[in-house]
């Protein structure tokens, strides 16, 4: 049973358990209140699912890409929750949860593949976008990240056309993130590194020396 936390867009928290079918999600789409809402969302999810912290056996962290101030709140919470319970942290690329949800929703066609390539695009603020390109999943249901995640101005997002479907996602589902992590764990897939995907350097330049105060 997994607790999943994503703050790459709004805040989404879920408790999922494939064995029992538990899939409870609590989300707040506001992109400016991650620190305020994260505690109540975790508490409400656990309560709604009738689950105690001790019942969990992993914590899934949405690692972004996402605007950094909010992104950190969820990753910090997931890391410390996992530490406190002594259970593993399972890092997952947030846009992969969007792709997972998409492919899970489309019925496979006669050719056997649910869909073609998918470009997941999310808001990076400052008039830029995050993008990630996925291939349709096979049996495992795990979408394959084939390019990205990257950062681009709206005009420069790559892979336009190419028979690729594009989703501009405003939210990342905790349940999708959790279910994807369950699939990855069951399939023995590699989880990405436990690094926040900021895709931007801090906005500073090294000091050039003191500025003159006299003309």
């Amino acid at each position: 049973m997994l607790l999943a936390i994503d703050t790459s867009a709004g805040t989404s928290v879920a408790v999922v358990d494939g064995a029992t079918g538990i899939a409870v999600e609590r989300s707040v789409d506001d992109t400016m209140r991650h620190a305020e809402v994260i505690g109540a969302l975790v508490r409400d999810c656990l309560e709604q699912a009738g689950v105690r912290p001790a019942d969990l056996d992993g914590v899934v962290a949405g690692m972004g890409p996402g605007p950094f101030t909010g992104l950190r709140v969820g990753i910090a919470a997931a890391r410390v929750f996992a530490l406190a319970r002594g259970i593993p942290l399972l890092p997952v690329v947030s846009s992969a949860a969007v792709a997972f949800e998409h492919y899970a929703a489309v019925a496979p066609n006669a050719a056997g593949n649910g869909a073609g390539r998918l470009l997941v695009v999310t808001d990076a603020r400052r008039r830029e976008l995050y993008w990630s390109l996925f291939d349709a999943p096979g049996e495992s249901g795990i979408p394959t990240l084939v390019d990205g995640p990257g950062l681009a101005t709206p005009a420069d997002v790559p892979h336009a056309g190419e028979g690729t479907q594009r989703i501009d996602a405003a939210r990342v589902s905790g349940v999708a993130l959790g279910r994807l992590a369950e699939r990855m764990r069951a399939a023995g897939a590699d989880f990405p590194a436990d690094h926040a995907l900021y895709l931007r350097s801090p906005d500073v330049t090294p000091a050039a020396g003191p500025k003159r105060v006299t003309a």
């Binding site: 620190a35 305020e36 109540a40 410390v80």
Partner: protein
């Protein structure tokens, strides 16, 4: 939600009975019995309200403690199912325990169903011991009752030797073990205290990463917090030689500070409290600096603060003068900087002089060889015209600019800059204003006590001048160990421990990071 604790009144009867009937399905009290309990002068009933829920009252608890009686009883306690696991029961129990002690009881009793191990565990963690069994006490279920008892300390706040009195009492209650998290600027601090005993104080600083920028870069600091928070918690647990399961409560800085940095600590602390099912206290960073004086760096039992006191907090982010009448309930801001913090001025002047970051220690070092009277730099907000409005406020922007002008004039004239003299003269200007205003605040308010805090306390000249001026004015000066003056989690834990000791309810889960949290908000609900 943010639960509010208050005394119950007759108007709460219906809400209480609704919970009573759903919680104690087979043996609920009658409404008449409950009404009598609420009305009695010998009882003390509390309710917890949560406005975000349809039925506002989510918990209640009652104590029977006639004033002057040696024995008191916990009568009942109930939390609606949907609000369990959030520490409300524990907080209610703590409040009733404190009230029983205030009413002069020396022993507190309760009965608990033998088939309710969760409640028994809560009571044991609150130092109740099982002393007897009443067979088939609960009817019609025929379930045994365990009788539990705990000793109560003599009424709290009885002076400086409270600690020893409690320690020697039989079955003395131990203060809770509190873990504090501080991430308001560039130090990730995690501390662990029990009461006023310091068990761990681990600090991971991102200062080196800021050096090439010449000052703290908020985004760099926040990224460093995210990477440091988990290892720093681990290190603090190792230093205190305790496990997370031993932690009784979590405290965290809610503000003031850098918003993005604070949020990392807030997110981590909420997760920790929920994962461990422990109460969470969101506290004020500046008041935490005052609380640092409760602790001793060597880990021995600290002492109560001598109050009231004036506190001068000086760091890279703050320059504040406080009047502290009570650490957990009455802190007043007398004044603060209206532009740069003192530490920031040190950093900027260091750059002008070609000295590295952080500037404080560099200026201190350079000044050691210099003449503090060589150049008379301005003293901000000390002119008579300023003193009316800014008696306790500070300004360091002017002196910083004055130093830069002075240095540029020398450079433009092709003359060498006497770095030692400039450093010593600048330092003297800053330290003169800081100590003069702090001592004035003590004298104006008739408070012969001054407490220093914040990283700039590392400045040798500040400590020396404060000592000299306090001695002349008959003011007792307190300076915590430097490891407790810089930003740290132990001071946050110490403040949390005092809030618990004073019976304050935990914070809810809805607080955020407040970069401008006023000092009067000691705890954030």
């Amino acid at each position: 939600m943010s639960p509010r604790f208050r005394r119950a009144t007759g108007a709460d009867l219906d809400s209480i009975m609704a919970i009573e009937r759903t919680t104690f399905t087979t043996d609920a009290w009658s409404a008449a019995t409950m009404a009598g309990e609420l009305d009695s002068p010998h009882t003390y009933y509390l309710v917890v309200e949560d406005d975000s829920r349809p039925d506002a009252v989510v918990a209640y608890a009652g104590l029977f403690a006639p004033r002057g009686a040696a024995e008191a009883d916990i009568q009942t306690i109930a939390v609606v199912e949907s609000a369990r696991g959030t520490g409300l029961g524990r907080a209610l129990m703590r409040d009733l325990i404190a009230e029983a002690a205030r009413r002069g009881a020396t022993e507190l009793f309760l009965e608990v169903r033998a088939d309710n191990p969760a409640a028994q565990g809560l009571y044991r963690s609150l130092d109740f011991e099982q002393i007897a069994t009443r067979p088939r006490y609960y009817q019609p279920d025929g379930v045994d009752a365990f009788v539990m008892r705990r000793a109560l300390p003599p009424e709290a706040e009885s002076g400086p030797d409270t600690g020893t009195a409690a320690d020697t009492a039989d079955a003395a209650p131990r203060d809770p073990l509190v873990l504090g998290i501080e991430t308001s600027c560039d130090e990730t601090g995690v501390g662990i205290v029990r009461g006023t005993a310091l068990l761990a104080n681990v600090i991971s600083s991102s200062m080196d990463e800021h050096a090439r920028y010449g000052g703290v870069v908020p985004e760099v600091a926040a990224r460093a917090h995210l990477e440091a928070i988990e290892p720093t918690i681990r290190a603090a647990l190792a230093e205190a030689d305790v496990s997370l399961a031993d932690i009784d409560a979590v405290a965290v800085t809610s503000g003031p500070g850098l918003a993005g940095a604070l949020m990392v600590g807030v997110g981590a602390a909420k997760a920790l409290a929920l994962a461990l099912d422990r109460p969470l206290y969101a506290v004020n960073h500046l008041v935490g600096h005052v609380g640092a004086d409760l602790l001793r760096a060597d880990g021995t039992e600290g002492a109560e603060l001598e109050l009231p006191t004036i506190a001068l907090l000086v760091s890279g982010g703050h320059t504040s003068l406080l009047l502290v009448r009570d650490l957990v309930s009455d802190v007043e801001l007398l004044g603060e900087t209206i532009d740069d913090a003192a530490g920031e001025a040190f950093d900027k002047v260091a750059r002008v002089l070609g000295l590295p970051y952080p500037g404080g220690p560099e200026i201190d070092r350079a000044a050691a060889e210099g003449d503090p009277r060589a150049i008379r730099f301005p003293r901000g907000l000390t002119q008579p015209k300023d003193m009316a409005k800014h008696r306790y406020n500070f300004s360091f922007s002017g002196v910083k600019t004055a130093v830069a002008r002075w240095v540029e004039a020398r450079q433009d004239a092709g003359e060498p800059v006497p770095v030692a003299d400039v450093a010593a003269s600048f330092r003297e200007s800053v330290v003169d204003v800081l100590t003069a205003k702090a001592v004035a605040a003590c004298i104006d308010h008739g408070i012969p006590r001054l407490l220093l805090g914040g990283g700039v306390v590392a400045n040798a000249r500040l400590r020396q001048l404060a000592e000299d001026r306090c001695r002349s004015a008959g003011i007792a000066l307190r300076v915590p160990a430097l490891s407790l003056c810089t930003d740290n989690g132990a001071m946050i834990a110490a403040l949390g421990a005092q809030l618990i000791r004073a019976g304050h309810a935990p914070s809810g889960l809805d607080f955020g990071a407040d970069s401008t949290l006023p000092v009067t908000d000691i705890q954030v609900a």
